[in-house]
């Protein structure tokens, strides 16, 4: 068997390792187009604040970890011939496969704004981006961040820590609208303002004019901000262009997979940010674009590549944790709630603490929290375990902070 994995991010790396374990004799090839050893994008913010060096971002630290067990190829896959079961790299090399994994992740998309391609504008997605940003970051530097979504907010922390003078422009009506409810998002915004970060919501960048030593950014409502560095974090698109011609089914640009992580074309699997996979809570198919999901996908896809049908995906639970200048927010599953479901929330605005729980019947299905970190993971346990809470539901409705107690009661009959 020859397994080829395209993309050396977390999804690809975990898949390769899993295959190696399940099929010790198969040939495993991992093709990646970035020059560095496989690394974690998630670690980039910590690189920016110099908590770690580049090595600190590497997915695997042991020297020779990959080379000893799989074949590592540097290169970019340009096309796939699914009927011939082969692929071609941009440098012309060709490669045959029995099973192929698309773990190519995604690429940031730039908003269609005049001047967005100027040299003071960058994304924050790769190590290369990180180097560029690090160069421009210094205390007092004026930085403008486009987008206060999850990725935007993740790097916001690092930008503030570097001492930059930061302005954030977000199109939506609140921060992280796809992760936090209105209360939570608004509190986060208050928090940022309190920490001296100017966050404009409901605002759009209209143009960027590149002057000598600054970029003049025009923002809707007639405002203008001068920035030495503009960072765009305004959405991503899956890297699936090279699959053109295979007839593979895509949704929003990402590969649609079934519950075995297999695409519409047999023998081709997909995982991570490039895959439109099953959501545990809704049963729908979507791109969650988070690291734990990439890892989970990689593992399950690998099992099925070795023995198709061996593992069925129940769906990943969507979950995020965000640290915004010391204020930690979390979301799980269906934090927006469902029609006909119950919900409870507890708010301490001054203390920046918030929790909201969403129920379907007496089961927990989603949660948002702010400023609460202890035993937070148990929310996952409660949601994914689909525990019937019985009378503990009313106790939670009375005091939603008793999540740990509810969990123990559900699992241990406490």
């Amino acid at each position: 068997m020859t397994y080829v994995i395209v993309g050396a991010g977390p999804a690809g790396v975990v898949a390769a390792e899993t295959i190696r374990k399940l099929d010790p004799h198969g040939k495993v090839v991992i093709v990646g187009d970035e020059p560095e050893p496989p690394y974690s994008r998630m670690a980039i913010p910590y690189l920016l604040i110099r908590n770690i060096d580049e090595q600190g971002t590497y997915l695997r630290k042991a020297p020779g970890h990959f080379e000893d067990s799989v074949e590592v190829v540097h290169g970019s896959v340009a096309s796939v011939d699914s009927s011939a079961k082969s692929l071609r790299l941009s440098d012309g090399r060709e490669m045959a496969y029995d099973a192929l994994l698309v773990a190519t992740g995604s690429t940031p998309i730039l908003p269609p704004v005049p001047g967005i391609d100027g040299e003071r504008v960058t994304t924050c997605w790769t190590l290369e981006d990180a180097r560029k940003i690090a160069e421009g970051l210094r205390p007092g530097a004026s930085v403008l961040l486009i987008g206060a979504g999850f990725i935007g907010c993740i790097i916001l922390e690092a930008l503030v820590a570097s001492g930059a003078n930061l302005t954030v422009v977000e199109m939506g009506d609140r921060m992280v609208p796809r992760m936090l409810d209105e209360t939570c998002g608004a509190m986060l915004q208050d928090w940022c303002r309190e920490k001296g970060v100017n966050v404009m919501t409901g605002a759009q960048v209209e143009s960027i004019e590149h002057r000598d030593d600054v970029a003049a950014v025009r923002i809707s409502g007639g405002r203008e901000v001068e920035a030495e560095l503009v960072i765009s974090a305004a959405g991503v698109r899956a890297n699936a262009g090279f699959l053109e011609g295979t007839g593979i089914e895509l949704s929003g640009g990402a590969v649609v997979v079934d519950r075995h992580m297999c695409s519409s074309v047999p023998g081709i699997y997909a995982a991570g940010d490039a895959a439109c996979g099953r959501d545990f809570s809704t049963g729908d198919y979507s791109v969650q674009a988070i690291q734990p999901t990439a890892v989970e996908h990689g593992r399950i896809a690998a099992s099925n590549m070795v023995r198709h049908g061996s593992v069925t995906h129940q769906g990943c639970i969507n979950m995020n944790v965000l640290d915004t200048i010391g204020l930690i927010s979390v979301s799980y599953g269906q934090w927006e709630g469902i029609e006909g479901g119950d919900s409870v929330s507890l708010l301490d605005r001054d203390g920046y603490r918030y929790i909201s729980l969403q129920f379907a019947g007496d089961q927990l299905i989603g949660a948002n929290t702010l400023g609460i970190t202890q035993h937070i993971g148990v929310l996952r346990g409660l949601i994914q375990g689909q525990f019937r809470l019985g009378h503990w539901k009313s106790r939670l409705m009375d005091n939603p902070l008793l999540i740990m107690e509810a969990y123990l009661a559900a699992t241990q009959g406490a």
């Binding site: 507890l346 301490d348 203390g351 603490r353 005091n399 902070l401 008793l402």
Partner: protein, 618 residues
């Protein structure tokens, strides 16, 4: 070290808070908690002050071992001048708030003055603030606890509060912490309420460090925990049966005061004993006792967690009383039960819950009800006074009714809230009050356990068993058996116990450890934790110093040797049944001997010589 060396001073009148360094010179002499706080009280208050006036102070004090891994190292004490006795009050409590306060970085909190309106003291580590508590006033301890937890959304927060009884002026109000642990005696809760301080809420996340020799401390505490585990009382009796293990024992030796101490044995003792608490009930098949529970750091775990039968008349319409809460310990079971003649376990548990919920000392409450019952049976108190309730010995209804009345201070509850002494005086029969210095007796009849007569008479906080628990020796044979019916050697025994206990009460440890530990076991733990050299001898000396300081405070407050007196009933009316039949208390023999051993004058005054021997303040 192991002291945090920090005091929080709260001026309730001004609403100001200040941080002060702990007086380490005094700590070296008075250890901590009971001793050290008394030293501060002595220094800072006029002993003749009105206990319920702004000049009195209220001190929450931890010991150097509070919050450490030493077994039972979770204690704190509330020190003030008592409104019940007019003497120094020091009430010791377990639970968790003591350790929490220490973990927040405080050895002591000194509250002075009086707030113009209800407030709560809120402490989170080194941040402390006074918060308006108008919304908490008029609420029970349990309600206040819930509201405070809701307000701060922190299930880990530890809370001490006073209930409606204290607000209504009940003179034996307790400070209740962690819902059912009490700094129970002498009306320390009444003082707290008089200052308009409804509650103290504490969260400590700093931890307790500064251990002089951590390695030695760990091995010393581990070794001493083994001693507790291997001891029959602390290793088996107390965890399994609680202090209630004593009910049948004390009844058998004829020292279980019954019906306001008219008798010394109770026919229904076995129905309210530890063993009875483990019997499955008919209604739901569950026993009264759910489990035992520990205070912070305690490896004994004598605490009782109990339920009341849901169908019992006291709670059938009160679902909030259906869950588990702090159950009966011996003194409470005795006061609420034997002393009132009530032999119904559920009613006792209910009355105990009410005492916890609204902050009353169950010993003083039960004993006051017992006095009221005698007054009723004598025809002095009538249904006109009570509004219809017949206060008869043995009446469960009467007991439950009294608890509810005192809890709120309504109607006859106000009279009961005066305590036995003032109640009997008010109704013209002072001789029916079973008190010393105005404080009600606990559960050992001095006619059957002679040492306890002297213990009660000389206790610095009024009648109290915990000042020198000679029962250990006279009944249990710890450290060696003495004859409970004899007065021989009891003066020395009492003095030795008083001094040792004063030391233990000042360390942060629980006095129940002394069933297994002597100062020889405690000193190595203190020594490994605290700066300086702490030998058993030094601890004992500190204990004696503390005892004399308390006595000195009382004398300055206007008490005299004449207050070291037992009620006539115990001196004149002989025990009618049991092994002590025909006996009265031999206080007259023991007291002079005791004074002499203490180095006091024949009328019980401290001499200049004693003062200087212990370096007491002039």
């Amino acid at each position: 070290m192991s002291w945090t060396r920090k005091i929080l001073r709260v001026n309730l009148t001004e609403g100001t808070l200040n941080v002060e360094p702990l007086n380490m010179q005094w700590a070296a002499e008075y250890i901590g908690q009971r001793g050290l706080a008394t030293r501060y009280l002595f220094e800072e208050t006029d002993p003749t002050c009105d206990p319920l006036g702004p000049d009195n102070k209220l001190i929450f004090a931890t010991g150097p071992l509070t919050g450490t891994m030493a077994s039972t190292g979770g204690r704190y004490s509330v020190i003030t001048k008592s409104p019940l006795t007019g003497a120094v009050a020091c009430s010791n409590s377990g639970g968790f708030i003591g350790a929490e306060l220490k973990s927040a970085g405080w050895d002591m909190v000194i509250c002075e003055g009086r707030s113009p309106s209800p407030v709560m003291l809120h402490i989170v580590d080194d941040k402390a603030e006074l918060v308006p508590a108008d919304d908490l006033w008029g609420k029970s301890v349990w309600e206040a606890d819930k509201l405070i937890h809701q307000k701060y959304n922190d299930p880990q927060m530890r809370i001490a509060a006073v209930g409606r009884a204290a607000e209504a002026g009940c003179l034996y109000s307790a400070v209740i912490n962690d819902l059912h642990r009490a700094a129970g005696r002498s009306g320390v809760g009444t003082v707290m309420a008089s200052k308009n301080l409804k509650a103290m809420a504490v969260r400590g996340t700093l931890g307790v460090g500064n251990i002089k020799d951590p390695g030695r401390f760990l091995s010393a505490t581990t070794e001493q925990k083994k001693v507790l585990a291997e001891n029959a009382v602390t290793g088996q009796g107390l965890p399994a049966l609680g202090t209630q293990v004593l009910m049948n024992v004390i009844n058998e030796i004829g020292a279980l005061p019954t019906n306001n101490m008219k008798e010394v044995q109770f026919k229904d003792a076995n129905k309210i004993s530890a063993e009875a608490m483990q019997e499955p009930r008919e209604s739901d098949g569950k026993p009264n006792l759910t489990t035992n529970a520990a205070c912070f750091g305690c490896t004994i775990a004598c605490g009782r967690i109990s339920t009341i039968d849901r169908e019992h008349f006291t709670v059938e319409n009160k679902p909030e009383y259906w869950g588990n809460s702090g159950g009966l310990e011996y003194e409470a079971a005795w006061a609420l039960g034997a002393d009132t003649g009530v032999g119904d376990l559920d009613t006792l548990t209910y009355a105990n819950f009410v005492c916890n919920e609204d902050g009353m000392d169950p010993i003083s409450f039960g004993a006051t009800v017992a006095a009221a019952m005698e007054l009723f049976e004598e025809g002095v108190i009538t249904t006109e006074h009570t509004g219809g309730m017949e206060l008869r010995f043995g009446s469960s209804e009467a007991l439950a009714w009294c608890a509810e009345k005192v809890a709120t201070g309504e109607g006859f509850g106000a009279d009961l809230g005066l305590g036995s002494k003032r109640l009997c005086e008010k109704y013209g029969r002072p001789e029916l009050s079973m008190t010393v210095k105005g404080q009600e007796f606990p559960a050992y009849d001095p006619r059957g356990v002679q040492g306890m007569g002297l213990t009660y008479a000389t206790s610095n906080r009024g009648a109290c068993h915990l000042r020198s628990y000679t029962v250990a020796s006279e009944v249990l044979g710890i450290p060696e058996k003495t004859d409970p019916l004899s007065t021989d050697g009891k003066a020395g025994l009492v003095k030795a116990f008083q001094d040792a206990t004063a030391a233990v009460d000042s360390t942060g440890l629980c006095v129940f450890t002394t069933f297994a530990w002597s100062l020889d076991n405690i000193a190595p733990q203190v020594d490994a934790a605290c700066e300086g050299d702490w030998t058993p001898e030094r601890l004992l000396e500190a204990g004696e110093r503390i005892w004399n300081l308390e006595r000195d405070y009382n004398m300055r407050a206007g008490l005299t040797g004449a207050d070291d007196m037992l009620p006539k009933r115990l001196l004149k009316d002989a025990a009618k049944t049991g092994p002590a039949e025909g006996k009265v208390s031999g206080l007259d023999v023991m007291l002079p001997e005791y004074y002499e051993l203490r180095g006091w004058t024949a009328d019980g005054q401290l001499t200049q010589d004693t003062r200087s021997r212990f370096g007491l303040p002039a």
